[in-house]
Symmetry: C2
Subunit: 300 residues, 2 copies
């Protein structure tokens, strides 16, 4: 049984969903602190237009800074940093920073694709085809997010066969990992089980990750069922910050510390470090984060 | 595969953990409304001394009122009402109301038993032995709660063998169902799985229920694992109200509506009725309840 891997997405999927924008210095602080917790995979930001997602406007500076620190030996050399890349311009930025891994994102439904990135699934796919070719030539690792794999806020239930079709297409792009996302947090363990049974007939389990939202409280039971099916990579967000602005709710990421509790146990040494950071996030954003461990008397 | 049963414990395990005491009229309102949601098992209160648990002081009046309404055909005749009975005096009260089911409570550890009911497990057991004999003679159904089946706030991890020992002893009292309780909410799916594998070697699955607390966000994944092991009865509390005052935290019950979502799906007709009531509870107690569905934009 291979080890659980957790991809921390708070600096991207968390920050981009907050109205309040942090300064570059604040982002650097959280990125460095996260890199010192012991987490091995961290998504730093998104090389997206500042007009489109202003919270991500200094991702290039942040990535450059963090990679420099890592090169200097000041951050664990084992940490795999990544950033989202929506287009060729983003790829150019990514390459200039020297980052080794990028992430692309597509949707299982057309309506969500239109709302999320303002173009159809097919057009987005075609554009990513070119981009991935170039990225692979530059020896970048590519991860993909596939949104709304269970229910779409605009189209309702998504058929497992439709998800499979897009997973296969995305695999053909040369990505090493596809994160199956429950964007609306509506999936239940039964749904996850059924979808994974189908996907795993066609895709090796090492190529799949899961990205669950906790809007309806189902994320951890879904993660557990995915684990029972052999999935070992899960996306989490420090303190449960963030979610998706196009699924009616600006919250819902599963907290990274919850995933650690589930898979590694209450004594995992990374948990208290994350809680310390999550408390700082609560102050920064002046809001209570939903992460249960943050409010447990056993972690006080 | 038998049907899922949910026991609603909010009127007892919820109300008794709130500082603010509701009036008898308010309790009647919530009890009647709950009985009209479609739920089939409802714990109405506790025949405990008012000195000990003042929130439960009018349980006798509440139970009498509700059973009368049921007799008059104003509430579904299929609903199984129950109430906690701590001692002979409580049993006398129960018999006077004509209630058909009582619940007793014991702990897997001595320290918790001392803190919770001020006597050792053995003494409590001996007293319940007499009580159960009398109750069975009176044709009452008896349910038992077994507290701290995973971790005790005072003694730490509880051995599965110890839990088994007490489950067996409790079964010998003639109870028809034993609710395995994760009082501190520290259990993980692995723990639940391991304990149930052991228990089910000795106890028929129909005799077991599960009572999970969500303090660490694990309750639904634990419920799902218990379901996979054959458990079909789960305790929940409207809105997630309540928990246990002796486990360091006054909250943590899993919301009944979350259990319905998990087992029956987002469209279950009972869910919106529970959410309407839970919103009223929030107003009554002037606090935000943790139940995720209460805060989901998909239920607005």
């Amino acid at each position: 049984m291979s080890e659980i891997q957790i991809l921390e997405v708070g600096l991207r999927d968390g920050f981009q969903n907050e109205k309040k924008q942090l300064s570059l210095e604040e982002k650097v602080f959280f990125a460095e602190q996260l890199a010192k917790t012991g987490l091995k995979r961290i998504e730093l930001g998104s090389f997206v237009s500042a007009k489109w997602v202003p919270q991500m406007k200094d991702s290039k500076e942040l990535v450059t800074h963090i990679l420099n620190k890592q090169k200097q030996g000041l951050l664990d050399s084992q940490i795999q940093f990544s950033a989202l890349v929506p287009n060729q311009r983003g790829l150019r930025d990514a390459l200039e920073t020297g980052i080794k891994e990028i992430a692309i994102f597509l949707s299982s439904t057309d309506s969500f694709s239109q709302k999320n990135i303002n173009r159809s699934r097919d057009l987005a796919y075609q554009a990513y085809k070119e981009l991935c070719k170039k990225a692979l030539k530059e020896k970048l690792k590519i991860r993909a997010y596939l949104s709304v794999c269970f229910e779409c806020p605009f189209e309702g239930k998504v058929k497992a066969e439709e998800v499979l079709k897009w997973v296969k297409k995305i695999k053909d792009l040369g990505v090493y990992e596809i994160s199956i996302s429950d964007t609306t947090g509506k999936a239940r363990p039964q749904d996850v089980n059924n979808l994974l049974i189908l996907l795993l007939k066609h895709i090796p389990k090492e190529k799949l990750a899961c990205h669950f939202h906790n809007i309806h409280g189902m994320a951890l039971s879904n993660a557990w069922v995915a684990y029972l099916r052999g999935i070992r990579v899960f996306d989490g967000s420090l303190g449960g910050l963030g979610g998706c602005p196009y699924s009616l709710v600006h919250s819902g990421n599963i907290a990274t510390e919850s995933l650690l509790y589930l898979f590694k146990g209450s004594q995992d040494p990374i948990i208290p470090k994350l809680l310390t950071l999550a408390k700082k996030l609560q102050k920064k954003f002046q809001k209570k984060l939903e992460s249960p461990l943050l409010h447990s008397p056993y972690y006080k």
